[in-house]
Symmetry: C2
Subunit: 531 residues, 2 copies
Amino acid sequence: MAPPAQMCHVNNGDLNAAAVRMVMKEAAPPHSASLLDADEFRRQGHQVIDFVADYYADMCSYPVHPSVTPGFLRSALPKDAPSRPAEHDAFAAALRDVRDHILPGLTHWQSPRHFAHFPASSSTAAALGEALTAGINVVPFTWAASPAATELEMVVTDWLGKALHLPESLLFCGGGGGTLLGTSCEAILCALVAARERKLDEIGSKRIGDLVVYCSDQTHFALRKAARIAGIHRDNVREIPTHRDRMFALSPADLGAAMRADADAGLVPLFLCATIGTTQTAAVDPVRELCAVAAAHGAWSHVDAAYAGSALVCPEFHHLADGADAVDSFSMNAHKWLLANTDCCALWVRQPALLVAGLGTEQEYILKDAAAEGHDIVDYKDWSVTLTRRFRALKLWLVLRCYGVEGLRDHVRAHVRMAAAFEEMVRADERFEVVVDRQFSLVCFRLRPPPEKLGGEKAANELNRSLLEEVNATSSGPYMSSAKVGGTYMLRCAVGSTLTEERHVTEAWRVVQDRAAELLGKMEITNSVVA
Amino acid sequence: MAPPAQMCHVNNGDLNAAAVRMVMKEAAPPHSASLLDADEFRRQGHQVIDFVADYYADMCSYPVHPSVTPGFLRSALPKDAPSRPAEHDAFAAALRDVRDHILPGLTHWQSPRHFAHFPASSSTAAALGEALTAGINVVPFTWAASPAATELEMVVTDWLGKALHLPESLLFCGGGGGTLLGTSCEAILCALVAARERKLDEIGSKRIGDLVVYCSDQTHFALRKAARIAGIHRDNVREIPTHRDRMFALSPADLGAAMRADADAGLVPLFLCATIGTTQTAAVDPVRELCAVAAAHGAWSHVDAAYAGSALVCPEFHHLADGADAVDSFSMNAHKWLLANTDCCALWVRQPALLVAGLGTEQEYILKDAAAEGHDIVDYKDWSVTLTRRFRALKLWLVLRCYGVEGLRDHVRAHVRMAAAFEEMVRADERFEVVVDRQFSLVCFRLRPPPEKLGGEKAANELNRSLLEEVNATSSGPYMSSAKVGGTYMLRCAVGSTLTEERHVTEAWRVVQDRAAELLGKMEITNSVVA
């Protein structure tokens, strides 16, 4: 990549001139004309739309993951912001910079060949919803600060909750309620702080060091991060081991034993984080049974359905959330697999008053609206880590409004179908195995271990690590990620990009097979040489 | 407002049909065609751009704050999401809904007559930067997950830090470094957790209940919220009183006395949050002296410059950050007054390793890039509350790239000039007083208290509260907010909307004068009747 010499000019401005102009009180040009002029916005905005549309149309011409080395962009850019842009049309020049220098250095999450991590599924409605939100740029931290924004968030979290068949006790229509945050980390942290404050009110705030949180060894790091932030003692996060014979789901018996042991030791069970669709293998914890155990110990139950929560939109997956009527809080990322673009995490709680007690504020300078007096008004600033917040409801409303619940079901089912097809292809090739039965659109697979004399299980991890590296290094190939569960390294093929079609999945499998054949061929040569 | 009956149709779908279709494995239509088709995106995107441009052009036709009652939108919308949208062009219909039903219920923060709270200043570059970010939709939680996004964030936080004349020790080029978060609440929380973990490593983690944080009675609630979340004992947040004769700045002597008293009582001073530009009156704490006190007690110093940090772009304000070379962390909201649209909070830290120690993770399933091995790579997931994050650097880079540092100075100075003009008008009217000397673009003022026999200071607060209500109720008038400091209620006129011009400020003052004359006239009648 050539150094983007024109990306902006290094020149820190003539401070003296500015100072002189200030002293002279010389009139500056009307600043609004250039910064937020309707006609300029229209002209440049159409450029951006065409830019993004062209990006989607050309998506397949980019390798999913760039071949760049650390520092490639930092070293190419000037050390300082420009004093004044050098070009007449700086915005058009900047768009060229994005095309020539930034896009080639991105990992293209919207590529139909992006199968890594979990999807960040985009849709036209959500992407344009973000554009609309940014254009309108309101800050709905209280009802009064933008009434329609707050009310739309209340409406759309109820809509989504019903579409996912959540119990009404978690929705406004049933006495609970939902909010839209950035990520699951925030959602879990908010729930944990609400739980912690309730518990400390009971047992006395000096005992914060006695509180214990519970999860499985498959739970997302978000729980540990939230526990750390919330001041839970580092030794008091119980990561209960899971096993392959239970599909890596958290065992209620093991949870019960852990809670009992802690209670016996004078500690206080505080918080359970169960998962529907774990990060590594999309395992599903048995929500009803786990909640019963937690309730028996007075602990708060949270369900993290960051990825697989989207699947609940389909009736055939509803049973996975059986028991959700017993949870205290539930979160899922509509930006992962439900077309809502990053970021959009929905959090529902059974008792909003506990959230407000943990996170709320009352201050004189916050405008109260006379109209709001005495009404059942939500001030969302008291439901989250932050006060300032974006109007995320608009894009989620657009997604539900424009595609409908059936449209979302079509979307989820298309990916499930493609993943099933991938899984069948893996099973049909005897060199490979599916390590964990697929439930959603994630397939975890690996090359079977070589014979014991050639390293067996021990060699299998290195072999599959090499396979992933080779697959990801294939120009115009798929991009996948890995998991290591119970000591077993596996490749993860997470179908979920909106642009992915069956041909991309078939082609991805062909690349995996080809790279595997090369690897196994090399091994055979090496082994025969050694022999 | 008419009920938006067409906003979407209540119909929860025919589950049986869907189930049957699944069983039959009937092919659904290619879902990508409708959800992220380049041509459809282009067509609908141009509609959105025109919609937003029209909104800016028509901005003055909206009252800044809507006359709506709680529930106005909730009761008008269907209880469920549509099963399928009823219209042929659902997106165009949705945009009509936004125009007819949502926009009229918003508080228009971009109105040139919005003078409440602090500004949420928009610009074309940032609004379109958000559109671009949403379109590209990458998730740069690690360097490998989108190298150019991480590197651009490193570049642009250095650019911004230099533009604000921050010490190099807070920038990557000087061994520190910056990141872009959502809000100041997150920034303060991240700094506080880093400080807490460092301190607990020293004194033992059992002593979390002994940690004390310090601020003034003017510090934003964000600090108290962060302290609550981080598990600091509720009794251990010292809100040190400020006084009008020190312009409501935190006194280093008072801070020292508070820290000493706590230390003498066996508690542990942990964290100071100093402010440049407080929420109520834009007071500026003396950073250098406060940091010296904090350092003497081994406490972490954070500076919250959420609003006024933007002013540091102008040399004439640099002295306000004197002493910033002694802080451990510094944050400001580029989305408030620096044209970066919500949300964009920059946090810089002197020792990034402490952030990572407090918030970091290492997990097998996170893809490491071979290219990154052994390099000085930032994985921003370890710098914040969240793992998933948006590519915020793109819009901030566009703002700096397209307007340049001088363009930002012009923008800030234009608002400072307008606020100075407003202040002069207040001072020229003997019925009013400026309560706190203006430093930036915020004017705090009130009607002078009536004579003692008519209530004096006590009546003044009610009088000014009524004045604010009357001003805000004026159709096509300005929208302001209030503060109450040292028992004194005052109106706040915060100039900062990008579209605000001098005529809007002049007109706002005329409305204030007119409403005041009416109020004072009514009072005179009442008083003469009573007499």
